[in-house]
Structure formats: C-alpha cells, structure tokens
Symmetry: C2
Subunit: 218 residues, 2 copies
C-alpha cells in the first residue's frame, strides 16, 4: 500500500465522520433518539427490536442493514412498524454500514411522529465498530451463548459503544458461563459502559431496556 | 474510488489467491490435511478444536487468528497441542486472515509428524469468506443459537465452504429453532455442502466429525 492510497482512505473516513456528525445533530434537533445496534450474527438484535416495537408502536423507525435478504425487515414490517432496508450485497457485500448510506435512507423517510430510530447494523462484531453512523448511542448486543471472552477479543466494538445488552439470559442455566465474568470483561475494556441484562423471550430484564429508552428519548 | 485503486485491489487479491494455491498444493504434498474454520464469534470453534485435539493429540497443529488476545491459543496450548498465534491488531485490526500470513506462520513451524492443520479464522461470518487461505476444506461452524436464517443472510461463507458444522446441538431443547430448517437453508445456498451436527459439550455427533477427519486426512 503506497502513500497515495492511505491518503484516499483517510479522505473516505473523514467524509464518513463528517456526515455522521451532521446526522447526530440533525436527529437530535428533531427530538429523535438514534440508536445503532451492533453484534455478532444471531445475537438477537431483531428480536429485541420486535419486542421493543410492541412497547413503543409506531413511534419507532427501523433501518435494517443486511448483506443479502430482507428477512429482518419483513419481521419488523409484520408488526406494523415502518422499516427501510439497506442491502450491501449490490455494493460488494460490505461488512458494515456507513453514515452516508444511513443519510440517504433518512432522506427518503418521513420521520414525522418518530421518537426512536434504530439502525440494525450488519451482523459482525468487527467492522461496524470502525464506522461512525452518527448514532446518539452505540449499543453492542452480546448473547450469553457467545462466551465470556468476547469483550476482550473484540474490544473496539465495546470501546466505541456506550451500552451493552447481554441477551438470551434465559439460556444461562444450560451454559457454563458466568454473567459476572462477562460484565467484568466489559468493565475491563470500557469502564463507563452501561450494561442491561435481558431475555427477549421470557421478558426478564426487558423493563430495564424500556426504561433506558424512555429516559434517553426525552 | 478511482480506477487506479481498483487495480491495486485486484493485484492484492491475485497475490492472495496465488499464495493460497501454493499452500494448498505444498501441504497436500506433505500429506497434511488443512482445514479453515470460519464462523461468527462464539460459535464454539475453539471448543471443537480442543475436543478434536483430545482425539488426535500431537498430530494436530493449530494456527489461531484473532484481532486481540492469545486466549484461544492458550486454551489449545494447555492441551499440549502446538499452536501459532496470528494477531491482526497490530495491522489495523483486520477482520480476516490472508494466505500470506498463514504462509509466514507455516514457514516458522516444524510440521514434522503433523496430520491435520487447523486455521481458526477471525470470528466473523462476512469477511474471512472473501479471502482464500489455501485450505483443502473451508468449514463454517454455525451454532444453533444463531438462528435458522444465517445461511441465507451470509451466503458467501456457505457458498465458499464445503462443510458446515452445526454446533451446540445440546441447546436445541431450549430454543425455538428447527435444525431441519437450518439444513434446508444451507442446501438452498449450497446444495453440495456436507453437514455435521454435534455438541462438543455432550459429545453427541462428535464421532461423525472424527470420522470425517480420519477419512479426509488419508
């Protein structure tokens, strides 16, 4: 890689960061709380959004990021929630979302009456953390089935986020996993990170998440 | 992105593919069966290698790919199995391994007496599938906890692999997941893909994996 290339890359990153900052300010001005959900594939992001939608109804808008398929968007739309699909497949199957794509989506969306905007990022614990999409809160969803060591192994996602949702806690009795160890590893990587433990299936802990949203969307 | 950049990228990919092909041939000539394990974070790759090591002992060598930490390599080394850690953190936290890095690792390794070489790729169901590391068999490890739709949502990993290990089957009684649906989705994306279902925890189905290795390492 020669110097010319590095310069180009920096330029792309700067544009991404600039658009991200614009999005952050403009959505705050509109009174919309904007949350970016990042995680490994299958951590339960879509299920959490589904259950959240049942509490907040049409005050939610969801931008779905996927490489292929509209499966997650279809799940959300079935609940009567408005949703917009970004598929990165046509652009080479990109492994993350960028602020420019979110901006383009938002330009096509009627945000009237929306209190909370979710971006469900591509299922990937590595690359999405490298690209600011302009959210007010970056959230990592970590399923208890993924093991205790993930904050240590994928530190950037945890460092660049303000909240960790530890999901699928209903499975804890069947795993050799200590939730205290997970939380200890989170604190080692990001001492300021807030943590909410929940099971979207049983509803355990879900009220904490609803309270968090109510508190922040003001 | 201008034309010059695209040219550079193609050149990099060509070099990666050429080194991959050299690795594939040279390890075959040495009688070593080379397997690349790819998956989401926390699907159980390291646990599968640990249990495999208990069956094959010192005939196994493991190259561990991680962004940060040597946690997985330490788990393997504890069993007396030789292992080599590639950390991509110092190179910008790369989200995948490349053939050149595996080649550099192999040049430092004494492969005398080794029958099976595992590469445990970075935990990421997107990017590793884009880079041929020269393995004889690419394997996707998919935990039942990740849901039924993952082959459809991350098709490249499934298309570029020959084997899928469906892991953590001991958790099936506690999930609303149909393993037949997972297999149907795998077949839709890659009709030729072999599938092994196992639980490294209970040992259920593990014998099929051991047989698969014995058959292929000849």
């Amino acid at each position: 890689m020669d110097i010319k290339e590095i310069k180009v890359m920096k330029k792309i990153l700067n544009i991404n960061d600039r658009i991200a900052e614009e999005l952050r300010i403009s959505l705050k001005d509109k009174g919309i709380f904007y949350i970016n959900l990042m995680s490994s594939p299958g951590s339960g992001k879509t299920t959490i959004i589904e259950e959240t939608a049942k509490k907040f109804g049409k005050k939610i808008f969801v931008i779905e990021g996927d490489i292929q398929t509209t499966l997650d968007a279809e799940r959300i739309a079935k609940l009567g929630i408005r949703t917009y699909q970004i598929n990165t497949g046509p652009f080479g199957g990109d492994c993350h979302l960028e602020s420019g794509w979110v901006k383009s989506a938002i330009e096509e969306i009627d945000l009237e009456g929306i209190d909370i905007l979710f971006v469900e990022n591509i299922g990937n614990l590595v690359c999405p953390a490298e690209f600011d999409v302009g959210a007010h809160i970056n959230t990592v969803v970590l399923s208890v089935t993924e093991g205790e060591d993930k904050p240590l192994k994928y530190p950037l996602a945890f460092r660049n986020s303000q909240l960790c949702i530890i999901s699928k806690t209903d499975l804890l009795p069947y795993l050799d996993i200590s939730i205290d160890k997970i939380k200890e590893n989170i604190k080692n990587v990001n001492p300021q990170m807030e943590v909410i433990e929940l099971s979207a299936k049983t509803g355990d802990g879900f009220e904490d998440w609803v309270e968090y949203l109510k508190k922040n969307k003001k």
